[in-house]
């Protein structure tokens, strides 16, 4: 028999707990979507003469929309438990296929936004904390304020105007040029380019992801900088830091090994939460940059009342949130052995 450590059992428990959660989320999404006025047939058929009530009724019948709500919900849950996410009412394709196609683009964008946010936010936060009230600190604080305040739809467009139209450095939108595409492996273009060693594709994809990743990541960078600064300030005045210094540990080492590592815990919490919202809150950025990700699919499907797509996407979002939280908790234990799951 395999013996699991206490931590492994905890992790397994948390993963199993996502199943009822996903079903709960599916039910909520189902009920909310049905509570909205309008239905997919009505919206798809829109205008047009000669669309008879009978024709619309026939389509509703085909989509199962004329059944009572509880029967629809029951049928839906049965299908989901069997692993079938259903068929899009508008896009004439299986929902699983739509999500599988869109999700890699969204993950790619979220990861790069997060990398950008960390690469900018942590150094700025640390530098500010090391010299409080200095010029660096004030500049950092002002930039953070700007970063959290600027809305993405404005920032994105201004970015396009400056970097694409005026300077001509970056493409306005899209994910990669048609003639530069790497072979399809994971669906994440940059990863695929790295795996296949396709340098031109990598360069092209990186150029395309710059503006959207910065637009999406700037707000997060600002929050990361602020949180890192304040937790760093707390830690740096702690006794054990003074002690380390008194021991004669070089200042760089004090900052890196003793202060930063302990100061990172609030940042990790924050990053966990923010990564979830980067995955789920990128509709505007995806729309501006024509980024073919899940956010656009969801918004569009909500407007079109494409119930199966919305329900499945909401489940995907919920699951990612839970899994990211789990990952965050695991990282805590690594950063601070005193913490256990």
């Amino acid at each position: 028999m395999i013996r699991l450590t206490r931590t492994q059992v905890k992790i397994a428990e948390r993963i199993l707990a996502t199943i009822p959660l996903a079903l709960g989320v599916a039910i909520v999404a189902f009920v909310f979507m049905r509570a909205m006025p309008g239905d997919p047939v009505d919206i798809m058929m829109g205008e047009g003469a000669w669309t008879s009530e009978e024709e619309m009724a026939a389509l509703r019948d085909e989509m199962g929309l004329d059944e009572p709500i509880h029967a629809q919900l029951w049928a839906y849950l049965k299908r989901v438990l069997a692993g079938d996410l259903g068929y899009s009412m508008i896009r004439s394709r299986p929902v699983a296929e739509i999500i599988r196609e869109a999700l890699p683009a969204t993950i790619e964008l979220a990861v790069f936004s997060l990398l950008f946010a960390l690469a900018v936010g942590i150094p700025v936060g640390v530098a500010s904390a090391l010299k409080p009230n200095s010029f660096v600190d004030r500049a950092g604080a002002s930039l953070s304020l700007l970063g959290v305040s600027l809305p993405a739809f404005w920032l994105g467009i201004v970015g396009v105007l400056i970097f694409s139209m005026t300077l001509g450095w970056l493409p306005t939108s899209g994910r990669i040029a048609y003639d530069a595409q790497p072979a399809h492996i994971t669906g994440m273009v940059i990863l695929d380019a790295i795996i296949t060693g396709n340098l031109p594709a990598l360069g092209n994809a990186l150029k395309h992801i710059c503006l959207p990743a910065v637009t999406l990541g700037l707000g997060v960078a600002a929050v990361v900088a602020r949180v890192t600064r304040s937790s760093m300030l707390d830690v740096i005045s702690a006794d054990y830091i003074q002690f380390a210094r008194a021991k004669g540990v070089p200042e760089g080492e004090v900052t890196r090994r003793h202060a930063l590592r302990n100061a990172m815990i609030p940042t990790v919490t924050l990053v966990g939460l923010q990564f979830g919202s980067l995955l789920g809150g990128n509709m505007i950025v995806e729309t501006i940059f024509g980024w073919p990700g899940l956010g656009r699919v969801v918004v569009d499907s909500i407007f079109a009342r494409d119930y199966p797509v919305v329900q499945a996407s909401v489940m995907v979002y919920a699951l990612t949130f839970v899994l990211i939280n789990l990952a965050t908790d695991i990282i805590y234990t690594v950063l601070d052995p005193k913490i256990s799951l």
Binding site: A49, W50, T51, R91, S92, V160, T172, S173, I288, G290
Partner: protein, 517 residues
């Protein structure tokens, strides 16, 4: 666009004080008080109309809605004035005036009903003789104008733009992007920045929206097509004739090949229509396009190159309708199935499908076996560019930026406020065509105060459309006298729109018994 719309709706919903103002004040009619409903996209316009109404002593407020929610309340007859619009695809009042204003029809949100008007429309619908139809439409227009169930508005001019190295480019009134006829001064790949978030499918039987049609019509041809200004001309068909009011014969051109090498014949045509007309005809699903064929009952083979359309009632706009039914290859489709066909479509159009993602881009390449297309739309040859790419670019500003940087060659739906900037750019050509969508403010004719035509006419005199169109839409709009479009059949150009005349509006309101301060 939609996201921003949602945000605006939320913000306004929070800010606005929701209040229901009773429609009328019983017999002792006091001051007229109305709420104007709109989607957020036309909020400015609604505010301007409210301002105009306040100027004649009407207490007017604006409320912003999501469309489906508003529509439900409108159909329940609970609202008063609502800004709506309706598009026409057939260049005939058949698919705009009929659904909007015929008694009890699907799009009739005003509850308007006038038997004389209905009779005139029905006459136009059933007659095949063009003069009879025209006269009937003229009658209907006059009645509609006098009854004024809506504050009649405008149609927006459709502005499109292309790089100046795109040759022979001409926007179409049916918003088709015809890439067969265009050439490029430099390069061999033409890129179109499509205004949509996605195309829903590549199967010509499975959609109802225009962006999807725009893409599909470059890979598929139909029996007939249109010139850019809306005239129906033969495409796959050599010609057609009406045998009677309810029977049409179409002759099919010989020697047309599909992208997979199969020859196109009458069986493909019959199959295409059968797939749309039959319940569950699309691999178990019913085509959402069924209704667009109106009273077409069946489509049958006469001989190898002749096909017969049998109708259950006269349908004079049949040729206009057939522009929108692209012919699919029977043998291929039966072999691969509907789902695989939608994934990798095979048509007989100027471009063949290469690869793509519906919410990203669709790539197609010139089909070298193309028969040349409609002889009425030169050049009659294979496409001039080697490759065509449609990119989904939902954000209008980014679309314009991409055109300016040369990333895309053609864009549609240029926002009104960016038109002048594009016109100044030497590398860009801007062209516009008349729109085929009517915008108006409908009134609830079933309840006071708008059950009184005097009040409705007063509203029409009260609104200063010229100022609204100039300031909000930068003049890219055509003022309309009714819901009949100038591009449509049977339009009466002599019927002038309501003039902006606040004094007359006030007088009419007073006559109807309202205080106008």
């Amino acid at each position: 666009m939609k996201i921003r719309t949602t945000l605006i709706i939320i913000v306004i919903a929070i800010l606005a004080v929701p209040g229901f103002v009773p429609a009328a004040l019983g017999t002792s009619k006091g001051q007229l008080s109305v709420i104007i409903d709109t989607e957020s996209i036309r909020a400015d316009e609604a505010q301007a109309i409210a301002h105009n109404l306040r100027a004649i002593g009407v207490s007017a407020d604006v409320r912003i809605w999501e469309w489906s929610a508003l529509k439900e309340r409108i159909q329940a007859g609970e609202r008063q004035i609502y800004l709506t619009d309706w598009g026409s695809a057939y260049f005939d009042p058949f698919d705009i005036v009929v659904p909007k204003f015929l008694t009890g029809d699907r799009g009739n949100y005003t509850g308007y009903s006038n038997s004389r008007f209905d009779a005139a429309l029905n006459q136009a619908l059933l007659a095949v003789d063009a003069d009879v139809r025209k006269d009937a439409y003229f009658d209907a227009q006059q009645i509609l104008f006098d009854d004024a169930p809506a504050i009649f508005g405008y149609s927006l001019t459709e502005v499109e733009a292309a790089r100046s190295d795109v040759l022979n480019w001409q926007p179409s009134m049916d918003s088709r992007v015809n890439l067969h006829d265009v050439g490029l001064a430099r390069g061999d790949t033409i890129v179109v920045g499509l205004y949509a978030d996605k195309v829903v499918t590549l199967d010509p039987a499975a959609y109802r929206d225009r962006p999807t049609e725009t893409v599909i019509r470059n890979m598929f041809d139909a029996l007939v097509t249109r010139t850019w200004d809306g005239r129906v001309v033969p495409e796959i068909a050599e010609g057609w004739r009406a045998v009677s009011d309810t029977e049409y014969l179409f002759k099919i051109r010989k020697g047309i090949k599909f992208h997979n090498g199969d020859s196109l014949d009458v069986d493909d045509v019959v199959y295409t229509f059968d797939r749309v007309l039959r319940e569950a005809g699309m691999g178990g699903r019913t085509s959402p396009r069924q209704g667009l064929l109106g009273p077409v009952e069946k489509v049958e083979k006469v001989d190898a190159y002749t096909v017969r359309f049998v109708l259950s009632a006269p349908f004079p706009v049949l040729p206009q309708a057939l522009v929108h039914f692209q012919i699919v290859p029977r043998k291929h489709l039966e072999r691969v199935g509907d789902e695989a066909f939608a994934r990798e479509p095979v048509g007989c159009g100027p471009f063949r499908y290469v690869e793509g993602r519906l919410d990203d881009r669709i790539v197609m390449e010139r089909f070298d076996g193309y028969y040349g297309g409609s002889p009425m739309l030169p050049p009659v040859a294979t496409a001039q560019v080697k490759r065509a790419i449609f990119r989904m670019m939902p954000d209008p500003t980014v679309r314009v930026a991409a055109l300016k940087t040369g990333e895309v060659h053609v864009i549609q739906s240029v926002p009104a406020h960016l038109v002048s900037a594009l016109r100044r750019d030497r590398n860009i050509q801007v062209k516009s065509v008349e729109g085929t969508r009517v915008y108006f403010a409908e009134m609830n004719c079933t309840r006071p105060p708008f059950d009184d035509p005097k009040v409705r006419r007063a509203m029409n005199y009260a609104v200063d459309w010229d100022t609204i169109l100039r300031t909000i839409y930068a003049g890219n709009a055509t003022r309309l006298s009714t819901a009949f479009l100038p591009s449509g059949f049977g339009f009466n150009p002599d019927l002038a729109p309501y003039k902006y005349d606040p004094a007359r509006a006030r007088a009419l309101l007073t006559e109807a018994g309202y205080l106008t301060r």
